[in-house]
Symmetry: C2
Subunit: 152 residues, 2 copies
């Protein structure tokens, strides 16, 4: 298979599990850079909520909500970039078992997206306690998937 | 000034011109990586619309809209990462005049955001002709700012 047909096949597979594959890529390196970029932006905005949840900066309900909205958007993006055949092109931390145990990988992604949806709902309540609880649950979902599929 | 106080001062300045500075950064390198990541994700989704506008892939109104929504979200993010003092830490293409001619830089950012808003509206009409026209206008706003503030 050519790289392009591999990418196309992956897009079909990703769509089948109801994960978005709206983004496609000219070359494998672009897919790697895309998923790393989306993860980095997501982590940055999630970290801003964490700073409030952990008391390092004052709780600002509007800022927490804006960050939660961005995290929610970003949470849907990275997975289109986990294109078959990009383990070897990845200068990052993706483990090869992402592609040998896709069902578990996608389940981890879905779990994170569900917890992020709860974080967004919590942010809309303007309650720091709610945000703290939901932040913790999102963090657990991040860690669970990273433990399984990301090299430390 | 410490890096942290420089970042804080920039955040205030950015807020004053009505650009979001919701994201803050532990160190200058994070600000650089953040803005580059946000730009890369934005460009990827914008490129997907471009592929339809230019006839390289079939027009899919729902996909065009989904991509336009992502571009719209992303269009608000990168500018918080253009933190004073990060020209020297940037391994990328940012020109130093970003920080010496901020008013023009922010005007360019605002113009892009306005054109992206029109692209999103165009995508909602489900008309390829509307999307084509708006795509071209967004592209011009990208190029204008890149010509002034990005090394080639």
């Amino acid at each position: 298979m050519t790289n392009r047909s591999i990418l196309a096949a992956f897009a079909v597979a990703a769509a089948a599990v109801s994960l978005p594959a709206a983004a496609q890529f000219q070359k494998p390196e672009d897919a790697v850079k895309y998923r790393q970029s989306a993860m980095f932006v997501m982590a940055n905005h999630f970290g801003r909520i964490g700073a409030m949840a952990q008391g390092r900066i004052p709780y600002d309900a509007a800022a927490a909500l804006a960050n939660a909205e961005t995290v929610s958007t970003m949470s849907r993006l990275p997975f289109a970039g986990f294109v078959e055949g990009t383990a070897s092109t990845d200068k990052g931390k993706a483990k090869a078992n992402i592609w040998t145990d896709r069902a578990k990988f996608y389940a981890g992604a879905k779990k994170m997206q569900e917890e992020v949806a709860k974080l967004l709902a919590a942010a809309r309540t303007n309650s720091l306690d709610n945000v703290k609880a939901a932040f913790g649950d999102v963090g657990k979902s991040c860690k669970a998937c990273h433990d399984d599929f990301r090299n430390q």
